[in-house]
């Protein structure tokens, strides 16, 4: 079943076309990777899906609902959660409070306070942050902050999880742990759409990969197909990184 369907999506920032006629679908249960050089429009695409930005043209459909034009909190309640490229936690609140708030207001917000509490604690266990419940979120290491952000997103009870560079800035061991965590999340029947620059990681876990360049989708397919794609090699895996500018 197609969970998320994007059709002819456009977003303009002044004269810049940040998202240029992008269409694709994500099926339930998949892990889909989104790659592209810096400035390719990956985070813009996430912002359009999560409602942080409104598209100028095109539609986004989640299950039976057209969600383009809805507010982030409405989209979250329908079942799409996200993390942020730059960690965006409630820094002065505790680890527990960060997750607990999401459990009370996300898609599962009809649950009682006690259920929300239990659910938050078990999610903290799930992402391996046991024993840190009462630490201020801002005092965690970067790797743990990213895990906390994932736990907070999961606490809203999503069917689709958008992960924006959860492996950036992590050391190799932490990257391996993050890969394991992503697999564990998929095993919970949560569909994952992730932006990642760590090639080894994203090529290894994605069922499918979509490549963006200057706002356009340049290709889509199995990891090995995308990795062999001529334009991808040129603009992204190529020798120089001029495309970054």
């Amino acid at each position: 079943m197609v969970l998320l369907e994007i059709k002819a999506l456009h977003k303009f920032f002044g004269g810049l076309t940040a998202t240029d006629n992008v269409s694709f679908g994500i099926r339930e249960g998949e892990i889909v990777g989104l790659i592209g050089p810096n400035g390719a429009g990956k985070t813009t695409l996430f912002n359009l899906i999560s409602g942080a930005l409104n598209p100028d043209k095109g539609t986004i459909r989640f299950k039976d609902d057209v969600i383009s034009g809805l507010k982030p909190y409405q989209i979250c309640r329908l079942g799409i959660a996200r993390t942020f490229q730059l960690v965006n936690l409630f820094e002065h609140m505790t680890v527990f409070e960060n997750v607990f708030m999401a459990a009370q207001f996300g898609g599962l917000r009809k649950t009682g306070r006690a259920d929300a509490k239990n659910q938050s604690l078990s999610l903290l266990e799930f992402v391996d942050l046991c024993g840190m419940e009462n630490v201020a979120a801002g005092d965690l290491t970067i790797a743990n902050q990213k895990r906390l952000e994932i736990a907070r997103a999961l606490a809203t009870g999503p069917q689709l999880l958008l992960l924006d560079e959860v492996m950036a800035g992590l050391n190799p061991t932490e990257v391996d742990q993050a890969v394991d965590l992503v697999k564990k999340i998929r095993d919970k029947n949560i569909t994952i759409f992730m932006i990642e620059h760590v090639m080894k990681a994203i090529m290894g876990i994605s069922d499918r990969i979509i490549a963006l360049h200057f706002g356009k989708k340049i290709t889509e397919g199995l990891p090995q197909e995308v990795a062999a794609h001529k334009t991808v090699l040129e603009v992204y895996l190529g020798l120089d990184s001029d495309a970054d500018a």
Binding site: S50, A52, K71, P72, Y73, C76, R77, A81, R82, F84, N88, L89, F90, E91, H92, M93, T94, F96, E97, F100, M101, A102, Q104, F105, G106, G107, R109, R113, K117, L121, E133, N134, R152, A153, A155, T156
Partner: protein, 316 residues
């Protein structure tokens, strides 16, 4: 875990029954305290409501509103206009409701503004209301200022006592509710709050409007002590600045800190004014600067620090 969780939701340093007990005790004050003391208490109550209401919204969100004077003044004018025609209880309710309705409008038009833009907007709005009323009185109604029906100071005392009690109770319930919790999240990161399912604008606007209800009700009550009001009295910007100072002075992050700040600063101003009429503002300023520089968490922060030291010294 449970103990630490309980600590997270802890309202303050005092036991639960202390607040109702204190209010019960205060209900007997007019029986044995002199007139002057009751009038002073009325003044303290007025600033407690303004401070606690202001901090209810501005504390967790860090949206510094300078519109308290507008909502307080709306209450005052409600009493001046309706006081002769409507029973007093309804006048107070009307003062609160009109402030509430006004705050909803303000909220809808301004809460998309952040940081200092919000602050400047609220200050400008307060002045706009002040001068609109003044313009109206000069050009349309023809007389500046109005007489307000006068009530016995004890009636005012009991009315304020009830308003303060309901105000504190509401503030506490909101802080402990998931909406108060959401408000803290909004203060930390509005984008993150939005993305975990919080209807950010609704939470902000409703709590903001609710907090102004108490300001309006209090304005309507204290106006009956003033006999005569005009726009410069009713919309005096000091009523916007004082709650901010008092909350910072006492400790903005807890209700008892706000209470402490409002009560002590009112008493202090009173004392300085009578004892040092010439140096009043100078001394007042020095004390405020001292507190802001050396006690960033306010007096409540100082108490917490002292309490921790005592606990460390005495082996438990």
């Amino acid at each position: 875990m449970t103990a630490s969780l309980r600590e997270l939701y802890r309202g303050g340093l005092l036991p639960h029954w202390s607040m109702p007990a204190a209010f019960l005790l205060m209900a007997f004050f007019p029986l044995f305290l002199p007139h002057y003391t009751i009038i002073s208490l009325n003044d303290i109550f007025l600033y407690i409501v303004l401070t606690v209401s202001w901090a209810l919204f501005s504390g967790p969100t860090h949206y510094i509103s300078l519109a308290s004077a507008a909502f307080f003044g709306i209450g005052i004018y409600t009493a001046a206009i309706l006081g002769d025609h409507v029973p007093f209880g309804l006048v107070i309710l009307a003062g609160g409701m009109i402030s509430f309705a006004m705050a909803l409008l303000v909220g809808l038009s301004s809460l998309r503004l952040r940081g200092m833009y919000f602050t400047v907007f609220t200050f400008g709005l307060s002045e706009l209301i002040h001068h609109t009323v003044q313009w109206w009185e000069v050009n349309i109604s023809g007389t500046v200022g109005r007489l307000v029906i006068s009530l016995h100071y004890q009636t005012v005392f009991y009315t304020l006592l009830i308003i303060v009690f309901v105000n504190l109770l509401t503030a506490r319930l909101i802080r402990q509710s998931k909406y108060g919790f959401a408000l803290r999240g909004i203060g930390e990161s509005e984008a993150a709050a939005d993305h975990i399912g919080i209807n950010v604008n609704r939470v902000k606007i409703v709590i903001f409007a609710l907090s102004t209800f108490f300001m309006g009700a209090t304005g309507a009550t204290v106006a009956t002590q003033w006999t005569y009001i005009d726009p410069s009295i009713a919309f005096n910007p000091m009523y916007s600045f004082m709650p901010v100072l008092m909350a910072i002075f006492g400790g903005i992050s807890t209700i008892y800190g706000q209470l402490l700040g409002a009560a002590l600063l009112t008493l202090l101003a009173d004392m300085l004014l009578t004892k040092f009429p010439y140096y009043y503002n100078l001394l007042y300023g020095i004390i405020l600067v001292f507190v802001v520089v050396f006690l960033p968490q306010g007096l409540a922060g100082l108490i917490t620090v002292l309490k921790r030291r005592m606990e460390r010294r005495s082996p438990a």
